[in-house]
């Protein structure tokens, strides 16, 4: 019989040993002599924190009650470590690359460093872990009670309640102290706790040894070997009928999920990992450890059932079986094994939770309060440490409170499974986060929250006995008697094991909503970015993020921040190292993007990605959050793409423009040649009359013996040529005005016959002097839209040509004005020599003297001008091609209405 004092003394001595191991481990890690601490064996042993007192004591209890069901708890993790090794490796890689500090950090970081998601995960983790911690307290307390207050003959009676809470309280306090001392010694950038890991590894060995020792004792001391044990009556418990049913599958699944999602498992597997090669050994060594742990569960259970009296608590068989035969030393070892199981779990879990609470709840709250207040209060680092220490205390206090409230709850295993189902809610956002880029924060949040609420309603709340949170009637008949909402038969789903029922509803709702919302909501740029970095972690080199985000800050400001979180010495070292890396021996590095990103990751190691981001962002370029900038960059990229498209479009346009320019240039060259031609023509046209004028005037001046008729003749030539010159200049000016669109037009409705008659009258004098006869009958009257002077000019022009160039003996000109269809047509024909057919196409061009082969000339511009005028009046001027002699021109204008003189007179009378 062991006394209470002895138990306490032994416990204290054991704790002292743990302290020593942790201390040595920490010191060796700090001084760099950490070879054994970083060995894969220690790493693997630390993962065995999975095997808590629930496993240590409860597995035997479970086996005694439900046979092989206990094996599921070992099977799930074994399958994961062997079969899903690549998943763990990916988690570890992501953890390293992104300096992940906890499962909450991983999920929040993946989904755009979402603070709210981190808070949600932290809350679920705390609520899910609290019963688990209570479970450990209960296990240790019960074990002490069993050893101290019960004699082997009275093992069937449950120990009294009164001292239990006291014992539990002191155990909780002791664990809190240990955790605070070794879990929060420093704020490490990687959130690693080498000392704690070393102590946990030792505890792993102790619990394994204890269980093996008890098992061997049962098999070889109480029985005659394995065959004997399994042939006992009690072994019938193994032949339960409902083996491998839905519950069995659910349990295997749950335990497999737990080894990934439990905050403490994430802590030891991912956060405390110092190299991926560690995982390689763990992938076979940890399953081996689990196998050894499970090997003796059945023998001990069968031994307990057959040796101990009816009604003895099977959850305590590991202790009570050796007690029953007075093996004090074995009892002590078994106690220490259970104690180790409990303490290692509590320590790691509270470290993991305190990290989450301080990083994701305390820090964001502090950051919400104005920055200056933190500045005045000094060291953020101290604040972090204090908040972590308080968190640890609060977590253990919560565990203690839960223990008090649910003290009478039955099997240990039940509480453990409730916790498993709670953290299983992390699985969809976790797996989705590292394998599915489209997964979004909204999906994760809604899925998690819904899964969590369903878990709480269908499993967690009903676990409280009595009417504490959910009354018995609510569980029986549903809230307000609504049967569909019965917590353990939701929506009429009855006949299921409560655990399977809860798991089914919570996880399927979680998964469906997660996937649905992810598909419906567009991920934000940062989510997209982080999603890519996480999913493609093996493709993306570490620290690529800074490529996407440009920030600026002064090195001094960054140093002040780093000092607050990392401590002055550490911050100084970090800054110097980076400056050296930049090739400078200054204390401060250039605050490049790379440095800011590096610093942010270092800080993220201490305070979580979301908080680090928020803090650095406050300094870096004074922005609130870099999402805006990311958007800007995305915009810039889009703009760049648009710009390059535009450039392409422009270059096409440019080509078109170049082509147009070439064409324009060709036209200009042509026009230039035409202009030169025109000038040359004008020069010729002017020089010709000038030549006659000069020559004859010289003759007149110099020749004394000119006869009077000679002088008369020469003077008339001079006069004629000067008139020709004047006309030419008038024409050039007129042409120029018309070309430039500056000629004045006096357009109005008029009777076309009026300007026609006037033009004929004007030319009668010329005709008389040329001996030509004009035949002009009464023209038809019609209203046309025209400028009367211009129309008259055209008629005169053509009439003059017809008279002047008619070289026949009896020149005749015919003029008529008629209505043909809707047009007023004026035809002017002569009986002259006509225009040679090869010249006809050119007669309307400037200075083409088609008909002027002969003498008088001067029609250089006349026809061109007349043609232009008719065009402006909306009419036509054409040479009528016919076989007859002479030349026939036709002028045509749209006639608006035709009215004979008679009609006009009639109208006047009316």
């Amino acid at each position: 019989m062991l006394s209470a004092n002895l138990i306490f003394t032994i416990s204290l001595a054991y704790v002292a040993l743990l302290f020593m191991v942790a201390f040595v481990g920490d010191r060796q890690a700090r001084t760099g002599q950490s070879s054994w601490i970083q060995s894969p064996v220690v790493y693997t042993l630390s993962i065995s924190v999975y095997c808590t007192s629930w496993t240590f004591y409860g597995a035997v209890g479970s086996a005694a009650r439900s046979g092989l069901e206990f094996a599921t708890i070992y099977l799930g993790p074994t399958l994961v470590f062997i079969g899903w090794w690549f998943l763990l490796r990916k988690l570890v890689r992501i953890g390293h690359v992104h300096r992940i500090t906890s499962i909450a950090d991983l999920i929040s970081s993946r989904y755009g460093k979402s603070t709210s998601l981190a808070v949600l995960v932290t809350l679920i983790a705390v609520i899910g872990t609290t019963p688990y911690i209570a479970l450990q307290l209960k296990a240790v307390t019960t074990s002490i009670q069993v050893i101290v207050s019960s004699d082997p003959g009275n093992l069937a009676n449950p120990p009294s309640d009164q001292p239990a809470s006291e014992i539990a309280f002191w155990i909780a306090a002791g664990m809190a102290l240990f955790t605070i001392i070794f879990g929060t010694r420093t704020i490490d950038a990687n959130e690693r706790h080498h000392g704690v890991v070393a102590a946990i590894a030792l505890e792993a060995l102790v619990k394994l040894l204890a269980l093996i020792a008890v098992g061997l004792f049962v098999i070889f001391a109480l029985a005659d070997g394995p065959a004997d044990i399994f042939s006992r009556e009690a072994a019938k418990v193994l032949q339960t009928e409902d083996m491998f049913d839905a519950r069995w599958v659910a349990l295997t699944f749950l335990s497999g999920v737990a080894i990934i999602c439990l905050p403490r498992q994430f802590q030891v597997t991912v956060v405390e990992n110092t190299g991926e090669d560690q995982l390689r050994m763990a992938s076979w060594l940890f399953p081996l450890y689990l196998m050894l742990m499970s090997l003796f569960v059945l023998p001990i259970a069968i031994g307990g059932l057959s040796v101990l009296p009816e009604g003895a608590d099977p959850d305590m068989f590991v202790l009570t079986v050796p007690m029953s035969v007075g093996q004090d030393l074995l009892v002590l070892l078994a106690f220490l094994g259970g104690f180790s199981s409990a303490t290692s779990m509590v320590i790691v879990a509270s470290i993991a939770l305190s990290t989450m609470i301080s990083n994701h709840i305390v820090m964001p709250v502090m950051l919400r309060t104005p920055w200056t207040s933190i500045e005045r209060s000094g060291d953020v680092r101290r604040l972090l440490l204090v908040s972590r220490r308080i968190s640890i205390g609060v977590i253990l206090l919560l565990g203690y409170v839960y223990f008090r409230l649910s003290g009478k709850s039955d099997a240990l295993a039940a509480i453990g499974l409730i916790a498993f189902a709670g953290v299983a809610q992390f699985l969809p956002p976790l797996l989705g986060g590292i394998y599915w880029k489209r997964a979004t924060a909204t999906g994760a949040k809604i899925g998690l929250a819904t899964g969590f609420i369903l878990w709480g309603y269908t499993l967690f709340l009903p676990s409280f006995e009595g009417d504490l949170l959910l009354s018995a009637s609510t569980i029986e008949h549903g809230p307000l008697g609504i049967g569909l909402l019965r917590p353990q038969a939701l929506f009429g789903l009855t006949g299921l094991d409560p655990l399977v029922h809860a798991l089914f509803w919570s996880l399927s709702a979680n998964v469906v909503l997660f996937v649905l919302c992810s598909l419906l909501v567009e991920p934000k740029p940062l989510e997209r970015l982080q999603g890519t970095l996480f999913v493609d972690v093996f493709r993306t080199p570490a620290g690529d993020e800074h490529r996407f985000i440009r920030r600026s800050a002064s090195a001094e400001d960054l140093f002040i921040l780093a000092q607050r979180i990392l401590g002055a010495a550490e911050a100084q070292r970090l800054f110097r190292e980076f400056a050296a890396g930049q090739g400078s021996d200054s204390d401060f590095p250039q605050p490049t993007d790379a440095f800011i990103a590096h610093l942010e990751r270092r800080l993220a190691g201490s305070i979580g990605a979301a908080s680090a981001r928020a803090m650095v962002s406050q300094i870096a370029s004074g922005e609130t959050i870099s999402l805006d900038e990311l958007m800007k960059i995305a915009d810039e990229t889009a703009q760049l793409m648009e710009y390059s498209q535009e450039v392409e479009k422009k270059s096409i346009q440019l080509e078109a423009t170049a082509r147009e320019l070439r064409r324009a240039n060709q036209r200009l060259t042509l026009l230039d040649a035409q202009k030169d031609d025109f000038l040359s023509q004008v020069s010729h046209e002017v020089r010709t009359p000038m030549t006659s004028i000069r020559s004859f005037s010289e003759i007149l001046l110099e020749t004394r013996d000119l006869t009077s008729p000679q002088a008369q003749r020469f003077l008339s030539i001079i006069h004629e040529e000067s008139l020709r010159l004047t006309r030419l200049l008038d024409e050039i000016l007129d042409m120029n005005l018309m070309d430039r669109g500056e000629a004045s037009w006096n357009l109005h409705e008029l009777d076309a016959s009026v300007p026609l008659s006037r033009a004929v009258e004007t030319c009668r004098g010329l005709a008389r002097s040329a001996g030509a006869e004009i035949h002009f009958g009464e023209p038809a009257s019609a209203i046309v839209m025209a400028d009367p002077d211009r129309l008259q000019q055209v008629v005169i022009n053509i009439l003059t040509n017809a008279i002047k160039h008619n070289t026949t003996a009896e020149p005749e000109v015919h003029v008529e004005g008629r209505l043909v269809g809707g047009e007023y047509v004026i035809e002017i024909s002569d009986n002259g020599p006509g225009i040679p057919s090869h010249l006809r196409p050119f007669i309307f061009e400037k200075f083409q003297r088609g008909a002027a082969q002969s003498s008088t000339g001067g029609i250089g511009l006349g026809l061109a001008i007349s043609k232009e005028i008719m065009k402006r009046l909306g009419g036509t001027l054409a040479l009528v091609e016919d076989d007859g002699p002479g030349t026939r021109f036709r002028i045509a204008l749209n006639a608006k209405a035709l009215r004979s003189v008679a009609q006009r007179q009639n109208q006047a009378v009316e």
Binding site: S680, S683, H684, R687, T688, P689, M690, T691, S692, I693, R694, S695, F696, E698, I699, E702, T703, F714, I717, E720, E721, Q853, S855, G857
Partner: protein, 123 residues
């Protein structure tokens, strides 16, 4: 022996003034009003001492006539004065290249023309 001058000029008034001027010097003047007629007369009739050749002639311009004259051994040395109303440097150059002996721009000075004819006729 009388100096004979042939004039190819399509402007009647200019031809009249030239004929008057040269005739007053006591020279014999023959003429043509277009390119074809000018070439035909020069090829088929007795050669003049000097030819006054306008460039802007109908049917066949002065340069063409000059080229033909220079191509034929009979007329290759025939003294030719080119007359032009364009007065462009380009024309003067062309005229020189194809063998014009003198170049007169309209409007000309009567004295100039007579001087040029005298020079070419060796008077």
């Amino acid at each position: 022996m009388t100096t004979r001058v042939f004039i190819a000029e399509d402007e009647p008034n200019i031809l009249e003034s030239l004929s008057f001027l040269l005739g007053r010097e006591g020279w014999e003047v023959t003429s043509a009003l277009d390119g074809n007629a000018a070439l035909e007369q020069l090829n088929n009739q007795a050669l003049p001492d000097v030819v006054i050749l306008d460039i802007m002639l109908p049917h066949r311009n002065g340069f063409e006539i000059l080229r033909q004259l220079r191509a034929s051994p009979r007329t290759s040395k025939l003294p030719v004065i080119v007359l032009t109303a364009k007065g462009q440097e380009k024309d003067r150059k062309t005229a020189q290249e194809i063998g014009a002996d003198a170049f007169v721009t309209k409007p000309f000075s009567n004295r100039d023309v007579i001087e040029q004819v005298k020079k070419l006729a060796g008077l």
